[in-house]
Symmetry: C2
Subunit: 333 residues, 2 copies
């Protein structure tokens, strides 16, 4: 197996220090490859980069007609959020309407990703709750699916639970390929994650963006989710988050979502292209530099969009004293 190409590197002073390899594919809904590099048939764990696909389960089981998810709640279902107050409130709001609480979330609690939110919690002497978990929006959405299915909510995060079976079926439908227990693990938020070829996730996002190959109902659901995420990008990431900044700059044209361990998925919606990218070594900053480099080349950014992407494709590395001593940068695009 040949090594994937170097798609990001760090420079310190005048010398390259680290090299990050990866693969990416930009594909249309018919499976035509617009651009790619590396082994795009290798199965990758998509992690949180496909939360918008997983959220299709809300519509597949008509939880949406029963609980009337707002655009904010749909955007948060697609998010790995910063744990800021406005994220916590949206998740708590849906849980309240479901007659549930943060105690029903099975994602675990961690400190907010956003530093100011962390500091604010600490100043209150408060511990983070499951609502601060970056995945609380996705989990709240899954609880709505559980209620719509008439299933007990306890254990909804387990692989065997009907909710996760439905999430799996929704992802299989949109990527057009079966998922298998032979390539399965548990995500950081305790739900299952299934590995599949990088190419399949890229094509799945093209189908999400166009509706091609999906039932009309699934196509409409995909449009609602991508509309929600791209029009409310502060709910998908949060203050200063790279995904939020990219989506805000593109004003609906680009769906962009990172996943843990160096995954990036999304769509250049006006072109009908989906994309998937994986940094081989799992480095999240490198993966963001890579996807910014990819979008600079292939998303036809205007000057403002280009300016935003450049700040992500070239990230300063600083000393403890705060001096710029190097940079992480995308290469090869």
């Amino acid at each position: 197996m040949d090594a994937n190409p170097i798609l990001a590197e760090t420079v310190r002073g005048n010398w390259v220090e680290n090299r990050h390899r990866g693969a990416f594919a930009i594909i249309d809904a018919d499976g035509i490859i617009i651009a790619s590099a590396g082994d795009i048939e290798r199965s990758i764990f998509p992690r949180s980069a496909i939360k918008s696909m997983q959220a299709l389960a809300i519509f597949a089981r008509h939880a949406d007609t029963q609980f009337h998810h707002s655009a904010e709640e749909l955007a948060l279902a697609c998010s790995s959020h910063n744990g800021e107050d406005f994220h916590v409130e949206v998740a708590a709001g849906l849980l309240g309407r479901l007659g549930l609480s943060e105690a029903d979330l099975e994602c675990g609690a961690h400190q907010p990703i956003n530093a100011a939110a962390r500091a604010a919690l600490r100043a209150l002497g408060a511990k983070p709750s499951t609502l601060h978990n970056a995945c609380s929006g996705k989990h709240s959405g899954m609880l709505s699916v559980s209620l719509a299915m008439g299933e007990p909510t306890a254990g909804y995060a387990n692989r065997e639970h009907a909710v996760q079976q439905q999430v799996r079926a929704s992802v299989e439908a949109v990527i057009g390929e079966p998922l298998t227990e032979a390539k399965c693990g548990t995500d950081g938020c305790s739900i299952p994650t299934y590995a599949a070829p990088l190419r399949a996730f890229a094509r799945g996002f093209a189908r999400m963006a166009t509706g091609t190959g999906l039932t009309p109902e699934m196509g409409a659901a995909a449009k609602r989710l991508l509309d929600a995420a791209t029009s409310l990008p502060h709910l998908v990431g949060g203050t200063d988050h790279a995904d939020t900044r990219i989506m805000a700059a593109f004003n609906g044209r680009v769906m962009q979502k990172y996943g843990a361990d160096g995954v990036q998925c999304g769509a250049i919606r006006d072109k009908g292209w989906g994309y998937a990218l994986k940094c081989d070594d799992g480095n999240v900053l490198a993966a963001h530099a890579m996807v910014a480099g990819m979008l600079l080349k292939f998303a036809e950014p205007d000057a403002d969009q280009r300016a935003v992407l450049e700040t992500i494709a070239h990230q300063s590395i600083r000393s403890v004293r705060g001096d710029v001593v190097g940079e992480m940068r995308s290469v090869g695009f």
Copy 2:
């Protein structure tokens, strides 16, 4: 240029998620390669993995005869420490004897690496000082060199300062190769770092371990530094630190020191071998798994040493809830 081999990977569930490539060399003082993988001629930034080489400047300028560095102070000069109380005290003690204070350290301040030390500072409502910086021992040693040279201490961290010129000369003498401004950057603690072939650092540690190729004075200085570091490993890392655990287990036989961005250097002293290792992508956990895998194979560990190395060569990955969902592991050794 061929890619370096995969020397560590992470598994989630039953599928490989991330791959970490790297190069390593184990070399004797005559330059004979005992074992290697990957491109060992590629120049790497050694970062903090060569602090014991940099500390040779203390002896080159007879700061040791003027200020009588204790074994603790020499070990701390070789360290990237956890910022625990016992580290802070050793650094503060040397500074006091020099007639200087933490205000003279030019490394910058950061939170202690050790979580309990961080929590204790926070509970006091105290901010970290330059003494908590992982490099405060090295910097205190450099200040002693500055005084011994009769140079102004202000600016001692700058590339042009006589102290850094001496540090560079000491490293050049021990690795037996010139360093160059053409491959130079600034380390996180604001001193210069020079890239040189990985092979040269490995051989340099063999020369440190044996004295071969060094002047008698430099050989004696190297022995004092390696004796200090390996006999006081809690000062080189700290509580639960991988380097500390490895050196404690080997009871003087192995010098082991990590550097930022995935560097590992050290010596299997009883065999007279030096080693250097670099994880291409800079991942520190992966680099620790790699060096543990390397020592398992080449350092002839006994059962207790093997047990310690195995816990570093195979590190659990946990979900937010704390369940084990995968592992980082060394491969290819």
